[in-house]
């Protein structure tokens, strides 16, 4: 059997997915990035500074926690990779720390970002404060309302939060507006994309910064079980950055099952879903050829999920490729299943997960789990930001 390549090729493709479908107005910036990113992020002094920040600022390595009561409940072994314990409460900071160091070395002085739930916005505003850079975060007007605490955090951190009024006023529209900003500010600005989406080299670059997750899982699992290789790794997928990071160092080890969990919303057979791989088709959005939720005419349709962080009609090209080649398996869990799973983890382990991460937990109900299996779940974020949703759902 021919060995399948899961790394990006020199044109920015994973199989048939990816590329840089940019208008000429973005060419200079993207061209500079793709020519220089590998050389910069492999510089010894870059690696040294990044590792130091990961350790002392982000708080890495994040623990790999054996969830004994949850394991007992499901009759299997379950480890949680505690990305929720990172500074700012999610895996998002791994990427923004990496990209801000890159932006500095490119001589940029102004940072822009898009955000949905506000986690990436907060993580970007945080590193901009750390490095004294000007920061503008684009956020859909609807999300500004839904995620008020994160908006306040970004403002306190010194970022300007632009409330985006176009389209449906959510993550897709925020991304459109950030891209327009980059077109208008081609000289001094770096765009910190928050997921493994967008034009090459962003999907590869973000995956590399997030790959610290699986690098640590390998070492931690070896210490705890005597093997680097679990039976399976489970992670939620919106754009797909935490899953890309959790899968990264296992991509070429076919004995490890990789499970991506999409936001089913009210069900993948309804209109109210964000399960792009399960209901979408190939197309071009945000400068990438990937799987999209769209109508027959190629207009992008509005996704729906209880979690603002997974509410995106596209997905990173790496995941489209892993789906197509069947290297990873993608399933969806519904809002209802997700809420139950969040409460279960809270009551069994005393950990309140982010709504996004609870999608991965809900998958445990759908998978055939054996007693001797070793399951790793990437707990990508903390539930602090979701307390209002939880309180409304459970009527405490």
């Amino acid at each position: 059997m021919q060995k399948i390549n899961y790394q990006v090729n020199e044109k920015g493709y994973y199989g048939e997915f990816g590329g840089a479908w940019i208008p000429e107005m973005m060419f200079a910036n993207i061209d500079e990035l793709r020519r220089r990113y590998l050389e910069i992020i492999q510089l010894p002094e870059f690696i040294k500074e990044l590792d130091q920040l990961f350790q002392d600022y982000v708080g890495r390595p994040s623990p790999l926690y054996y969830a004994s009561r949850l394991s007992e409940y499901y009759g299997t072994s379950i480890f949680l990779k505690r990305e929720d314990l990172n500074h700012t409460g999610s895996h998002k900071l791994n990427n923004t720390v990496g990209q801000i160091l890159l932006a500095q070395r490119l001589g940029k002085t102004r940072i822009i970002a898009e955000t949905g739930a506000g986690q990436h916005g907060v993580a970007t505003a945080t590193v901009c404060a750390l490095k004294g850079m000007k920061c503008v975060v684009y956020m859909g007007a609807l999300d500004v309302q839904r995620q008020a605490p994160n908006v306040k955090k970004m403002k306190m951190l010194g970022a300007e939060v632009v409330s985006v009024q176009s389209g449906n006023k959510t993550l897709k529209d925020a991304t459109n507006e950030a891209m327009r900003d980059w077109i208008k500010n081609p000289e001094d600005t770096h765009y910190i994309i928050g997921s493994v989406v967008g034009p090459h080299p962003f999907p590869d670059m973000v995956a590399r910064f997030q790959s610290v997750i699986s690098r640590e899982i390998k070492a931690q699992l070896l210490g705890k079980t005597g093997s680097e290789f679990p039976t399976r790794i489970i992670a939620c997928v919106g754009g797909g950055s935490n899953a890309a990071g959790a899968f990264y160092h296992y991509l070429n080890h076919n004995q490890v099952e990789l499970i991506g969990v999409e936001a089913g919303g009210k069900g993948v057979d309804t209109k109210d879903t964000a399960a792009t791989l399960l209901v979408g088709s190939p197309g071009v959005l945000h400068a990438s050829r990937t799987m999209l939720m769209q109508n027959r005419d190629g207009q992008i349709t509005e996704p729906y999920s209880i979690s603002a962080g997974l509410d995106y009609p596209g997905i990173g090209p790496l995941h489209s490729h892993l789906h197509k080649t069947k290297r990873a398996k993608y399933i969806a869990t519904t809002d209802e299943e997700v809420l139950k799973a969040a409460l279960l983890l809270t009551r069994k382990e005393g950990i309140i997960p982010a709504l996004e991460s609870a999608h991965a937990l809900a998958a445990l109900e759908k998978l055939k789990l054996n007693e001797n299996d070793v399951n790793v779940i990437n707990l990508s974020g903390s539930g602090n930001k979701d307390m209002e949703t939880y309180l409304n759902a459970f009527n405490f």
């Binding site: 208008p23 000429e24 077109i183 208008k184 081609p186 005419d297 190629g298």
Partner: protein
Amino acid sequence: MKNRINHLFETKKNNILSVYFTAGFPNLNDTVEIIQQLEKNGVDLIEIGMPFSDPTADGPTIQHSSEVALRNGMSLNLLFQQVKEIRKFVHIPLILMGYFNPVMQYGLEKFCATCKETGIDGVILPDLPLEEYEEHFKKFFLMNHLHNILLITPQTPDDRIRKIDDASEGFIYAVSSSSTTGEGKKVEDFNREYFERIQRMKPKNPVLIGFGISDRETFLNACNFANGAILGSAFIKAVQQKKILKVAIRDFVKSIIPPQ
């Protein structure tokens, strides 16, 4: 038959006026009348906008017209139906402009063939990069005598302008400044150095300047540096403000073209 774009530039060298409008705006069935009125009032070239849900290179005006057009029910299928007979009465060059995804879903090969049948002379797809075009799609354009119009910007280095000029037929679309559509810099801030750089390079293709051209002053200023200019957002605002399309178009074109 010779491509009408080439014919235009052979017969007219200066002050070429190209107008962009979004198909399906303000009303779904305005397409044919807008094209006819633009030609009648002396416009040289028309760019018919194919609306897309996520127009990342466009400013607020075209975002809005695209949204309205889609809400009105515009699609590529419908647009081709509307302009099916257009060549019976319209003779100036027609270009389709829009984003790649709707064209991809329609099928690029079929799209190019339908353009030829309809009498479309060129296509502008800003998010179809030169490299993808040359590798995968050029053959379909050539087969159907359809020109792919490419963009350059103030950030485009000389060697890339050369490459784009070599790959172009018809004309080069020079984006006036770092901006999305309708938000260009004011006339006094015009990037003189950039336009002079293009002139010095003596491209083999004619050049039209677009983005931020909004009135006679900016139009004529652009014409000093190129063969002509493109107006889009300003035209959309004009048809939006006046109730009678015919009057709006007549007044708009009159406000741009200098009196003879």
